[in-house]
């Protein structure tokens, strides 16, 4: 409720208006709003120098900064020509297994990297942003679209003839951060469901401390 009295006198003093404290925005690549508090403020993350990975200081997770098929160049996730960017779920699991074995980001680990589960992936969604709903200072210039999680959907598909679990997996749409079941996609049929992949790794306490010092 606001008193509006002596508005003319106050108008004279407009130049003396006190500064308004603004919400700290996340660094949205796409659209953002200052009516929602940042859920992934940049200060929550540590960017080790010389690595294309980021440490989430709140969850202790180590993330690749760009999805598979992209490379961090001059602060942006650039498409790597000739590399696959969109995968079926099975293709995603296999691609992360290759990533784990080859350690292309030079993390020093050939274990632990995995396709994030639904809670891990949802934890980096920036609710203040959309298209994509990610903090661009941490995960720059990501495409908007579905990102695979490793979590299958545990639900009987309606009308399924067989008593089998529906062939769906939880995905996170980076357009607005929605967590949604999507079909796994047939690895042999490229017209079926495809989505992006962002590998993640849990860190032990000593690994976590080690990364914070880099």
């Amino acid at each position: 409720m606001t008193m509006r009295m002596n508005k003319y006198l106050w108008a004279l003093c407009a130049v003396l208006a006190l500064p308004v404290q603004a919400a700290v925005p996340a660094n949205c690549d796409g659209e953002g709003t200052d009516t929602i508090r940042a859920t992934t403020p940049t200060a929550r993350f540590h960017l080790p120098q010389g690595y294309d990975v980021v440490v989430d200081k709140e969850t202790g997770l180590l993330w690749a900064r760009c999805p598979l098929g992209f490379r961090l160049e001059r602060g942006a996730c650039e498409v790597v020509s000739g590399e696959q960017r969109l995968f079926s779920w099975r293709g995603a699991l296999e691609a992360v297994a290759v990533f784990r074995a080859n350690d292309p980001l030079g993390s020093g680990y050939t274990d632990g990297w995995h396709l994030p589960n639904v809670k891990e992936l949802a934890s980096i969604i920036e609710r203040q942003c959309r298209d994509p709903a990610l903090n661009g200072a941490v995960f720059p210039t990501h495409p908007s679209g579905y990102y695979w999680t490793s979590t299958p959907v545990a639900q009987i598909s309606a009308g399924a003839a067989d008593d089998v679990w529906e062939e769906r997996v939880w995905a996170v749409g980076t357009t607005n951060g929605g967590v949604t079941p999507i079909p796994k996609g047939d690895p042999t049929d490229p017209t079926t469901q495809r989505a992006y992949v962002l590998p993640v790794r849990e860190l032990t306490d000593s690994e976590f401390q080690d990364w914070l010092s880099r």
């Binding site: 003396l16 929602i36 992360v96 589960n117």
Partner: protein, 576 residues
Amino acid sequence: MGAGLTHSMSPRGRAALVAVIALSLVLSACGRGRPPLETTPPGLHAPTLTILEDRSDGANTQLDLEVVLQPARQSEVRVDYRIEDGSAVGGADYTVAQPSGTLVFAPGETRKAIRVVIIDDALYERNAEEFRLVLSNAQGADLAEAVGVITIEDFDRPPFAGISAGVTAVEEVAAGGNASTVIFTVALDIPSGAPAVVEVNTNGDSQATPYVDYLLEDADGNPQRLPLRFTFAPGETEKRFLARIVDDGQAENDEKLVLGVVRQMEGAVFAPSRELAQVTIRDDDRPDYAQVSTAPRRRLNDTGVVRFAYNIGWDDGRNGGTANDGVVDRYVDDHTWKEPYETAPVADAPSILELYFYDGQDALFGADAEARAATGDVNATGFRFTKLDANGVPLADQSADYATTPWHCVRDETTGLVWEVKVPQGTEPAVHGESTPFYWYDVDAQANGGEAGRPGLPDCSQGTCNAGRLVAIANAERWCGRGGWRLPTLEELRSIADYGNDYNRRDEVERSTGYLPAPLNEAFFPNANPTYPYWSTTPLSADPAQVWGMRFRGIPEDVPLSKSQTALVRLVSDGP
């Protein structure tokens, strides 16, 4: 020239009047061909003059008031005089050694002086001040001008009025539960020689509502209304008043109370640099919406998924050919428990041609997998919950069931969050009932996504109130012996979701309830209504009218909820 007229005018007005009179005199002289100043009548003349009080060195001015005799006389002339105060007061504005006496003009003498001292006091005077020199009892000459008026001009600047508050922020309820108060000071930066009157009021930035959010009292505790008017006596420079903050019990945004000197009354003008006093009233009833956690590193809860998806290639002849012809006809995924890296073929199902176990699935890593490895229980999950009684004390028997030993909260040992456990609908306290609906309401424009939602009724026992009321109630009653209760964020709500569900019980539960089991660990979260979604604090960036919620029915679903609807609330606390 009428002295009374000029004295009531401003210096500028007087100058203009002088100019007009001079011009009219010149014009009349042109018309009549006669010099204007030869009209001075013979006799004794008391002086009428104007003097500026202020001097650059700040010292007082000595002034000789000359009584003029015109023309000179051959014999002695005597006249009594006295100095009379007008608005200028002897001793304060001027001094004179001999306030009264007799002037004696020797023969041929035409001027006698009375010395006065004009005091430069640096005090602003609203008007020029004057005192008088009065002649009487003239002997040997007429009194041509018996009264002389000495006007003291004053260009001392007026004081600036300012306002300040003792604090910049105040809790709606102070420590100890008493009403918070804020003391405001209205001050003049320099004393004034004239009474100064200023008005204080709120401005357009002020969000708090008088009589609702605060009450005003003067220094003696008398209730006051806006606008406040203060009269400073000459020399007085400070007034105080008090705002008593009202604890309205309503969840609301922190509100600003902005007061300023809004009107220049007589004797005072704005003080531009400090004309506003701003106090933030921190709401104690407001749920702590969507605060970004600065908590130390904590592992995320795992998902509860303990089974694997297999891709099974069936050779059943659906896509042509015949069954068991060696051609894969379709793929399906099977969540039936399989040992890792179990391989095909499956002996008792000859139509299964291929069986892929997808390495890297959820169930293979994280706390769930660790729990399975540690216990050997294929249904074990990584959730670590502790049941708390009404005082927040862990139940001695954690395996007790709700019917015999009800518990009121669950502490998540992984995330550190304490969760409200709802009570069965129809039991007390009803506001904690598993099906009690609430509106979503947050007036914080930096957190509500653009729309505040619906406040609902102020009293939850009278109908649907907003979630902030349940927060206030839980904090007031110290549910489970603690405060810090608030609405969870979407990710906090997700943290207790069991994405694995209880596959083994699904048929049984679905048959008896019509629903798949609630994807919360039922052993810890009884009375979990599976039908309606739960509110989170997290707005949708795409639509100011919607908030994210989660429905725990069969599978945990993220659902956009309209702020105009009602939904359930499960409170969370990470406070003391």
